[in-house]
């Protein structure tokens, strides 16, 4: 006999009949009737009108019937709140039943009835059940507290249930502990006051670790997830927790394994650099690999998480490339994830194998997978320089297949390869041009146009090709239109004689016939540039493009750190912070990795810096990857896919401040503006705040990096006799430099800028072959000499060195302006870090201005270019004058008005920017007024800070 017969009654008057049966005297008929009611409920019929009749059946001695009635209550109580009260008595009575199964059932069900009136009656039975002698009842009651909190948080806090719940953490039964942990974590998630009250301490953590060994797999997950939110006091505690969590890596349940991985990944951050971490790293690889033999869905979750882990700690799976090879019968979502991880793990040693695989995948059936595989070949070329040539020839092979989507995808990636390795593979352009007609996707068309524009001088019929695209200009997608505009302008600048007409045509199409503001604005800019100063136009449009780098597909470090704390959760699958997809209060609690053991130097804006971390999550919908890092280059509008990042390989730390995207066009203009102060160039439109571009495309505004400016004020306070020198800060911690630690500062002596650094070898063996290089920067700083470090530098030895700097290098605007990205090479690796050059070392000796010139210039600069600032200063005007003069801030004149000293001062930057200042000092008031006037407003912030630092010493 089966239950299916209950589904069969569908005739009219059914409800009426059921009513009669429910009120029948015969117990069996009653039970049958309730089953029919539940069956109707299951198929979605509304049987709420039977509420009183069903509730009448509640007082029964039949357990099965009782469960059914409870189920009915849970479903319909909300629609009949007044009648639900009828059930309360039975619940309260059942909570006192001698059978623990029934006590638990009653308390469990009562918590699921989300009716306020019932909730009040729940408190007393719940309080009793939390102290029940039977663990089964206690563990059910523990969860019930969370249910009650969800309905009425205030009630739970007022009634002292949180304390009772907290007591359950010390319960003798592991399952009760596990459920109490689950309930507490849930409550802490939504209520910050509860979270404070329930803060874990070492004692509780110790208890949790003990319960971990004895509870069910699910309980283990609750406990592990809770441990992952705890910040251990010290290394010792972290290590001891890790030791007790590690055995969980051998659990058969994949979710237990992933939660254990989460705890270990987080705690490793604290134990950075110890040999214990090394042993943990070794232990992590095998279980991660084994996760790939789980069910496909679990594999998918595992792969998304491995993607994060590989970015955080590439060493863990460095040698496991082969397990990520795609199998024919993998579901598509697994295939795509494997592909992504393969690229992340690709290196010089395994690249040949990877390419062979990718080529194989490119012949598969699934179009999406094939496209991604072709893209992957391009990413490999960019990531592993030695393989570029092979990748290009593989792509050419694929183009020969003439499969439409393969060809288009190949062209898109070849564009990226050109960007990475200019002037190397242009010989294949002719092959590409052969396929012009088959391109029907806008991204491929845009890429092709970019290639033609960029290499117009080598393509004889470039004008003809571009003209052919122009015919359907109106119908093209914006991306293609923008490319076409830029491409033709490039062509014109390279071959002005033959293409005058073409450029006129495209400019008028863009400015007059288009209602797209991006296109129009760009059109106008070109037009004005071309008409006023073709040389400047050349400099802007044909400027050397920063190379794109392999790191662009990496997640932004602060986001990555946050996601590591969310391993195995939805956030880790979406690669978005929970606040991006979870509503309301739940996002109140945010987790980030604990600060590393070493003190974090202010100059390296690492992940631990709180203001930056904040910013990363303020942006509501963080795109999963890529997009946020796009530097919108003047000639590049390719969203997604292969985002371009200005500046060659950047250290991940430095990327944290550029995550909002560096608008290069804006940057270029900013650069012009800096120079413009001197040359009085044609561009007078002031750049918007923060150097934001005039052309804002793709909606990427520039978010000024909050908190970075504070760095200046963070480090002040060393003595000053001659030129003020900042105390040294750690630029490259040993943990990041594979044992190489660099700390340093900048100084100005005898009219020269020096980078003063202490280089310490904290590794086990000697280091040698040191060399240094700077990335392009705002003031063109370049090393003026070799880096003098004794080679070899024995282990645990330090060397002090002074590196002479010139300001003759290439210029690129940085944000903040004084940011300097440095690469230091030794026999082990190349290390990247960024530091901040204090602005006053850039003030030159020839900064003394004549009075008259000063006056004239002061008048010349519009009032809008004046910046005021008030700060605290304890020195008198005489002393201030001396101190400033020692740092090349010269006093042009001094007046005393109403007992206040007014100092008029001038200073000049290495790049000939003048800044005029008026310093108002009152001998009786420690607050001083500083007014600055300059054509290049961008420097004022730095100058103010320099003033403050110099004077406060």
């Amino acid at each position: 006999m089966t239950d299916s017969k209950y589904f069969t009654t569908t005739k009219k008057g059914e409800i009426f009949e059921l009513k009669a049966e429910l009120n029948s005297e015969k117990k069996d008929r009653k039970k049958e009737a309730v089953k029919k009611v539940i069956a109707s409920m299951t198929v979605g019929k509304d049987v709420s009108s039977l509420f009183p009749d069903v509730v009448n059946c509640m007082q029964t001695d039949n357990l099965e019937l009782k469960k059914l009635v409870y189920l009915y209550l849970m479903n319909y109580a909300k629609s009949q709140p007044d009648m639900a009260i009828m059930a309360v008595n039975t619940f309260v009575k059942d909570c006192d039943d001698p059978n623990p199964l029934i006590r638990a059932l009653a308390v469990r069900t009562m918590g699921c009835i989300r009716v306020d009136k019932i909730t009040e009656y729940l408190c007393e039975p719940l309080r009793k059940c939390l102290k029940d002698e039977d663990p089964y009842v206690r563990k059910t009651a523990a969860v019930c507290v969370a249910k009650l909190h969800d309905i009425n948080a205030q009630l739970v806090e007022d009634q002292g249930f949180l304390d009772q719940l907290k007591d359950l953490l010390s319960d003798s039964n592991p399952m009760v502990v596990a459920n109490a942990v689950a309930a507490l974590s849930e409550i802490s998630d939504v209520s910050s006051s509860a979270a404070e009250a329930l803060e874990l301490n070492s004692q509780t953590v110790n208890k949790l670790c003990t319960a971990l060994n004895e509870c069910t797999e699910w309980g283990q997950i609750f406990i592990l997830d809770c441990l992952a939110t705890y910040n251990p006091r010290d290394d010792k505690e972290a290590q001891s927790v890790c030791e007790r969590v590690t055995p969980r890596l051998s659990h058969a349940n994949a979710a237990v394994v992933l939660s254990a991985v989460k705890v270990l990944m987080k705690y490793m951050e604290i134990l950075e650099g110890s040999s214990f971490t090394q042993s943990l790293i070794k232990k992590l690889a095998p279980p991660l690999v084994t996760l790939l033999s789980s069910e496909a869905e679990v594999q998918y979750v595992a792969l998304r998480n491995i993607n994060l882990i590989v970015q955080k700690r590439p060493e863990i799976l460095r040698n496991e490339m082969k397990v990520f090879f795609v199998k024919y019968n993998d579901p598509i979502y697994v295939k795509l994830e494997k592909l992504d991880i393969m690229i992340r793990l690709a290196n010089q040693q395994n690249i040949a194998q990877v390419l062979a695989e990718l080529k194989e995948y490119a012949t598969e059936v699934d179009v999406d997978f094939v496209r991604k595989s072709v893209r992957a070949i391009g990413r490999c070329a960019i990531k592993v320089e030695q393989s570029a040539e092979k990748c290009v020839s593989t792509l050419l092979d694929l183009i020969q297949t003439k499969v439409n989507y393969v060809v288009q995808e190949a062209i898109v990636v070849i564009k990226d390869i050109f960007r990475k390795y200019p002037n190397k593979y242009e010989s294949i352009i002719s092959t590409l041009c052969e396929n012009l007609d088959s391109l029907d996707e806008s991204e491929a068309r845009a890429s092709m146009i970019w290639i033609i524009g960029e290499y117009a001088e080598r393509i004889d019929n470039a004008a003809e090709l571009l003209e052919s695209f122009l015919e359907g200009f109106q119908d093209e997608n914006t991306q293609v239109q923008l490319q076409l505009l830029t491409g033709i302008v490039k062509l014109f600048l390279k071959r002005p004689s033959e293409t005058q007409e073409l450029v006129q045509q495209v400019l008028s199409l863009a400015t007059q016939d288009s209602d797209n503001p991006d296109l129009r604005d760009r059109g106008y800019i070109y037009w004005r540039l071309l008409s006023t100063d073709p040389a400047a136009a050349k400099e802007v449009v044909l400027a050397e493009k920063p190379l794109i780098s392999e790191d662009t597909d990496l997640l932004e470090p602060t986001l990555l750190d946050e996601l590591i704390c969310h391993i195995s959760s939805l956030a880790s699958v979406y690669h978005k912070p929970p606040s991006a997809f979870v509503e309301g209060r739940t996002s109140a609690r945010r987790f980030t990795l604990p600060a590393r053991a070493e003190p974090t130097p202010p100059s390296a804006q690492t992940e631990a810096s709180p203001p930056v971390a904040q910013q990363a999550t303020v942006i509501p919908s963080h795109p999963p990857q890529g997009d946020s890092l796009i530097g919108d280059l003047i000639g590049m509008d390719f969203g997604g896919g292969m985002p371009a990042q200005p500046a060659a390989p950047m250290p991940p730390a430095a990327m944290s401040n550029s995550h909002s995207g560096v608008d290069l066009l804006g940057a270029d203009l900013g650069g012009l503006q800096l120079g413009g102060a001197v040359s009085g160039g044609p561009m007078t439109a002031p750049p918007s705040a923060g150097g934001g571009g005039v052309v804002s495309s793709g909606g990427l505004g520039v978010v000024s990096s909050g908190g970075l400016g504070d760095l200046f004020s963070l480090s002040g306070g060393a003595g000053l006799t001659a030129g003020y020198v900042w105390p040294k800060t750690i630029w490259l911690p040993a943990a990041k430099g594979k044992g190489l630690e660099i700390s340093g500062t900048f100084s100005r002596r005898q009219g020269q800028i020096f980078m003063e650094c202490s280089i310490t070898n904290r590794a086990m063996q000697a280091m040698g072959g040191f060399a240094v290089q700077f990335n392009k920067n705002s003031f063109g700083l370049v090393p003026g000499a070799q880096l003098h470090v004794p080679s070899p530098l024995p282990a645990n030895q330090s060397s002090e060195t002074s590196l002479l700097l010139n300001t003759t290098g290439p210029i690129q605007r940085m944000d903040p302006l004084t940011n300097l990205q440095v690469a230091i090479k030794n026999n082990i690796d190349v290390f990247y870090f960024s530091c901040v050059v204090p602005m006053h070392v850039l003030f030159i000796e020839a900064g003394q201005m004549d009075r008259k010139v000063f006056l004239a210039m002061w008048k010349d600069i519009p009032a809008s270019n004046e910046v005021q600032k008030q700060f605290h200063c304890n020195v008198g005007s005489e002393m201030a004058q001396q101190k400033l003069a020692a740092n090349n801030v010269f006093t042009v004149a001094k007046r005393t008005v109403d007992g206040q000293d007014m100092l008029y001062q001038s200073l000049k930057f290495t790049n000939n920017i003048w800044v005029l200042a008026e310093l108002k000092m009152d001998p009786h008031n420690p607050n001083v007024q500083l007014a600055l006037k300059t054509q290049a407003l961008d420097v004022t912030k730095g100058v103010q800070e320099a003033y403050e630092a110099i004077l406060s010493n």
């Binding site: 089966t2 239950d3 299916s4 039970k31 539940i38 299951t42 001695d61 039949n62 357990l63 099965e64 009782k66 469960k67 909300k78 199964l101 029934i102 989300r114 089964y136 563990k139 059910t140 969860v143 019930c144 969800d150 399952m175 009760v176 459920n179 974590s185 998630d189 069910t216 699910w218 997950i221 609750f222 590690t246 969980r248 051998s250 659990h251 058969a252 994949a254 979710a255 939660s259 690999v289 084994t290 033999s293 869905e297 679990v298 397990v323 090879f325 199998k327 024919y328 598509i332 194989e360 699934d366 999406d368 195995s568 959760s569 939805l570 979406y574 997809f581 979870v582 509503e583 739940t586």
Partner: protein, 422 residues
């Protein structure tokens, strides 16, 4: 962490049964689910996780059913998926098969189970053997109503009290599956052994078991480094095994669940010669015919024999009029899956067999290419483990002091065994 509700849907997306655990999402949100699945599949971004406004759907498919969990929070998805798979397992153990019919037939007990498996979206208890002690098909009177079994909250949650057998026996199977991936040039891309130790326990009381293997790390720790031992790359244990004990001194000690279960699994990356090697020569004469020459070679010791060898060779979907020639075994064409199946009942070690096949091809070419599916091989080699793993002992101690007999079997079989074709 927590799931809002769990649904079981039929193949057309109609809800068969559901349970609302948290009430933070409208139950009707499920109506969005099936259209979303179809959309995602159409757009080529199929995924087991679908987000829709504030709801996230996570689902698995079991035969023709969708088992779906919804959540509104940043839930632990690994937990959700492993719970959903566990739920299916529990239902299978209760009803043999989980399909539309068995769900209708048992809806009362399914509701009961759903109430017990999870509370407020937190998985609670998923051991079907213990559940069967107090959630049964029969209705109970309250006087005789079952009480919660001790195992429910015990540290030993997987074994009930008072189990009795007349004859105490344990059957231990060591099963090794070989995963192999060979590219079309005949290079082995990936080769690993996934082993499992399966137990069938028919033991009375609360026995303590200890299993000894020739584990390399254990041997090295105990100074027997020279004996023949196997290095287990990654070991996964059933929840009954004391993990911290294993972590300490590599002892595998446990109180077993009753009946059949998988005690442990392990993985080895040791490169072994592919046990069955296939060489294929495929000659395509488009528009007329395609010819296959398949050579199967057994590369294990002559003493051993592979049984029930099945070699599946993919053929184009539009091939017709098959002709086969072979000296050993039988060859069949399975047009529904577009493969030739070559069966060899018994394949001794160190042998080589040949099979030829010939198909006609239509003169009009099919529009859709089907890619290049790999050749797959199935086999079973009894009394043999590729890794050389051995059970040294299985000690059984129970306080009543009975003698129990352990029986050990070894078998090696194919796992995911694929050879790509050109």
């Amino acid at each position: 962490m927590s799931m809002s509700a769990v649904y079981i849907l039929d193949v057309k997306g109609k809800v068969l049964i559901s349970r609302n655990y948290r009430g933070d999402l409208e139950m009707s949100v499920i109506e969005k689910f099936f259209p979303l699945v179809l959309d995602c599949e159409d757009e080529g971004n199929a995924s087991p996780i679908i987000i829709h406004e504030s709801a996230t759907f996570t689902y698995i498919k079991h035969h023709n059913l969708y088992v779906v969990a919804t959540t509104k929070k940043n839930a632990n998805v690994a937990l959700i998926f492993s719970f959903l798979h566990k739920l299916v397992k529990v239902f299978m153990e209760y009803f043999k098969e989980m399909e539309e019919e068995s769900i209708r037939d048992n809806f009362v007990i399914i509701y009961e189970l759903m109430d017990e498996l999870m509370d407020f979206g937190y998985p609670q208890f998923t051991e079907s053997k213990i559940l069967q002690e107090y959630i049964t098909q029969e209705g109970h009177k309250l006087e005789v109503a079952p009480r919660p079994p001790e195992a429910l909250t015990n540290a030993v949650s997987w074994r009930g009290q008072g189990i009795k057998y007349r004859k105490n026996e344990v059957f231990l199977d060591v099963i090794e599956s070989v995963n192999l991936l060979v590219n079309s040039n005949g290079n082995v891309l990936q080769s690993e052994i996934v082993g499992a130790v399966k137990l069938r326990c028919y033991l009375s009381g609360m026995p303590e078991l200890r299993l000894g293997l020739n584990d390399k790390i254990l041997f090295e720790n105990t100074g027997r480094g020279k004996s023949k031992a196997v290095e287990l790359e990654d070991v996964k244990f059933n929840q009954c095994v004391r993990l911290s004990r294993f972590d300490n001194d590599r002892t595998i000690s446990f109180i077993p669940p009753d009946g059949e279960f998988e005690l442990m699994s392990y993985r080895l990356n040791t490169h072994v010669k592919p046990l069955i090697w296939i060489e294929s020569v495929i000659e395509r004469h488009s528009h007329s015919r395609v010819e296959y020459m398949i050579k199967a070679k057994s590369q294990f010791k002559r003493r051993s024999t592979a049984n029930n060898v099945e070699i599946q060779i993919p053929v184009p979907g539009d091939a017709d009029s098959p002709k086969f020639k072979t000296t050993v075994g039988t060859v069949k064409y399975a047009p529904e899956t577009n493969v030739i199946v070559w069966n060899i009942k018994s394949f001794p070690g160190g042998k080589e067999f040949l099979m030829r096949a010939h198909f006609g091809l239509p003169s009009v070419e099919a529009e859709e290419s089907q890619g290049n599916p790999p050749i797959k091989v199935k086999f079973e080699i009894p009394y043999f483990t590729v890794s050389g793993i051995q059970v040294r002992y299985l000690k059984i101690i129970e306080k009543s002091g009975y003698q129990a007999l352990p029986w050990v079997r070894y078998i090696t079989q194919n796992g995911d065994y694929q050879l790509r074709t050109t």
